[in-house]
Symmetry: none
Subunit: 199 residues, 4 copies
Amino acid sequence: MPRYSEEEREQVRSETRQRLLKAAAVEFARHGYSKANIDDISKTAGFAKGTVYNYFPSKRELMLVLIEEMAQVHLEIIAEHVYQEQAAERRLEKFFEAGFSYVSAYLTQGMVMINNLYGPHIEFKQAMYTAYQPMFELVSRDIIGLGIKQGIFRKIEPVSTAGLVMNIYLGIASQVNEDGKLWIEYGPVSDFVSHALHK
Amino acid sequence: MPRYSEEEREQVRSETRQRLLKAAAVEFARHGYSKANIDDISKTAGFAKGTVYNYFPSKRELMLVLIEEMAQVHLEIIAEHVYQEQAAERRLEKFFEAGFSYVSAYLTQGMVMINNLYGPHIEFKQAMYTAYQPMFELVSRDIIGLGIKQGIFRKIEPVSTAGLVMNIYLGIASQVNEDGKLWIEYGPVSDFVSHALHK
Amino acid sequence: MPRYSEEEREQVRSETRQRLLKAAAVEFARHGYSKANIDDISKTAGFAKGTVYNYFPSKRELMLVLIEEMAQVHLEIIAEHVYQEQAAERRLEKFFEAGFSYVSAYLTQGMVMINNLYGPHIEFKQAMYTAYQPMFELVSRDIIGLGIKQGIFRKIEPVSTAGLVMNIYLGIASQVNEDGKLWIEYGPVSDFVSHALHK
Amino acid sequence: MPRYSEEEREQVRSETRQRLLKAAAVEFARHGYSKANIDDISKTAGFAKGTVYNYFPSKRELMLVLIEEMAQVHLEIIAEHVYQEQAAERRLEKFFEAGFSYVSAYLTQGMVMINNLYGPHIEFKQAMYTAYQPMFELVSRDIIGLGIKQGIFRKIEPVSTAGLVMNIYLGIASQVNEDGKLWIEYGPVSDFVSHALHK
DNA sequence: TATGAATGAGAGTTCATTCAT
DNA sequence: AATGAATGAACTCTCATTCAT
């Protein structure tokens, strides 16, 4: 008969799992998927090698899960800020503000995100597109589309323009340094895009 | 000592070298640096494994040389088109036109470029920045700076704005599919940026 | 101290033990000793991994115990049928009849038996020889020796001939399919051996 | 330009290949397929681990190739002796004589053969059946069938009887000790079978 | 007694690099 | 200059076993 309660076990498992995912993010960010190794990931998490495989069936799956969880957190943070505003222009600004703040705060996750997005591993790229679809839609519908409806943005194609905006965001986000600093502030970027969109 | 034979030898060496670099680009593009392997590279080039090491001391060095040669070709193509124009706005358009055309024509090189730029391998990223410095300056000085001088662009900071423009170009270039198609034409992109820069 | 509870406890232990042995037989039969794993064995038995080690000190010991228990059941079944007859020839027939019926009914045990007998694991092979010694003696003394004494079998060496008979039985038994079917009935085999032994 | 001649290379490759197959047989015989490891196989052959993979794509394939090559040698040896005789009875004797001599001379191969035939690895068992089909046919057609035609054997079913004879051979062959000794000579076995088949 | 999380030795496989020819 | 056989470190994944509860 098990002495641990079901809850206790669940609690422990969940914590271990999170530590492993965090460690995986760190190692993937540091060395890239291919060069990152399970031994280091587990050691970074404070476990032995085998433990990883009690939680994830493979290195590949570890990455796929990581992608999903990262995208979710990322979206939450951005959505939370963007939806505070009603005006499209303000939303655009909030998008860059929250986005830049995310990559500064979640350095490792940000790097993994970028590596997957622009890297050679097609499966991961695909997973990224799927996982980031909601954020893409947020930009497309609730910022650009909204701005057009509100009569402040030019009558541009919202979807491809959202692609451009996401590109700008991600391109800049990819150049964060190890202190979480970016080479440009969100203000000028937001400005640049704003100018591009305004009537 | 026969001089002609000397030249011939040089000629053959140079061709072999180019074939190896081309093959390396193909394999790096297909599998990424880490997963690409020397055996496949040499076989793609039509040589045996050992031959690679008669031309390049290591896989790493092969990539570094490739980066330099790619950047040079890339710059030449873009410069050739951009400098045909005198008006900054036209130059901007030419930049995107020639740039998009480059990634379509040089699919593999383009992918390697992107992988290095956004990938986890710091040394290669560094090498990319160095190799692409001239192109960056072209954009910064001979397009944006020029546009300001010509009084058509807003009085923005040319360097960071050049960063944004390069970001946009590279971000879009990274999404070329295997047929060399991009999800957006150069026209709308040029337009977008134009709007962002104009007074 | 409650005596009944003691017995109950013993009862439960014994049942758990049997379930584990049965599950071990299934897994050993399916994957062979080396590839069978404790986790699957315990799960097949309906327990957690650790439970196995409350009953058997190691995987190896689990097999050794299994061998002994299998051999005992096997012998009992065969002896029960063989000793119903008094004539050596009839006993020979019964031996094959009961033997073939055993391997059909106890598919997994039969496979484990064969795997150990012909497999590379010397310790298990040894254990098999020891465990099957009584059956060997049954054939040697109470069938072949008896037949010679009864004057129906040729004056052959009983021990090595018993070896041949056992070989034939086990060789055929090894080719049972997953439905418990053998490629030959006991009749023709008994016949074949009968012919070989008769004057 | 390669300095080794094509022939020289082929020669070296062939020798290395044979050494690896021999070593594999030794290790598979000693520890069984699952427990035998590539490192030991290569070391036994006098090479480093990686060399195995220059010749065989996987451990599994190594075994499959080994099975085929073993079966071929085995068949050649037996056929050579059997076909020296014209009388079925003498052929039967030769079959056992040559067969017993094979397992004594090719100890390790014999063990691998037996392990695969009676072991848990279905793919290898299948491969054995396929590879030994010609030998089975030799027994069925050119010994038993022939004996019936020659009027010395009873009118039995040749195929299933060949199965019995092969069983007897393999069963005994499986009990060779490490000095190549069997517990019974070919004479008594041949006699036993002869008796069983004769009118 | 039963549990399952954690361990780490050990296995198969890959591949950059070396080198004799 | 070109070859490809050989190497062995490094990697992913497996699993018998331990142990705190």
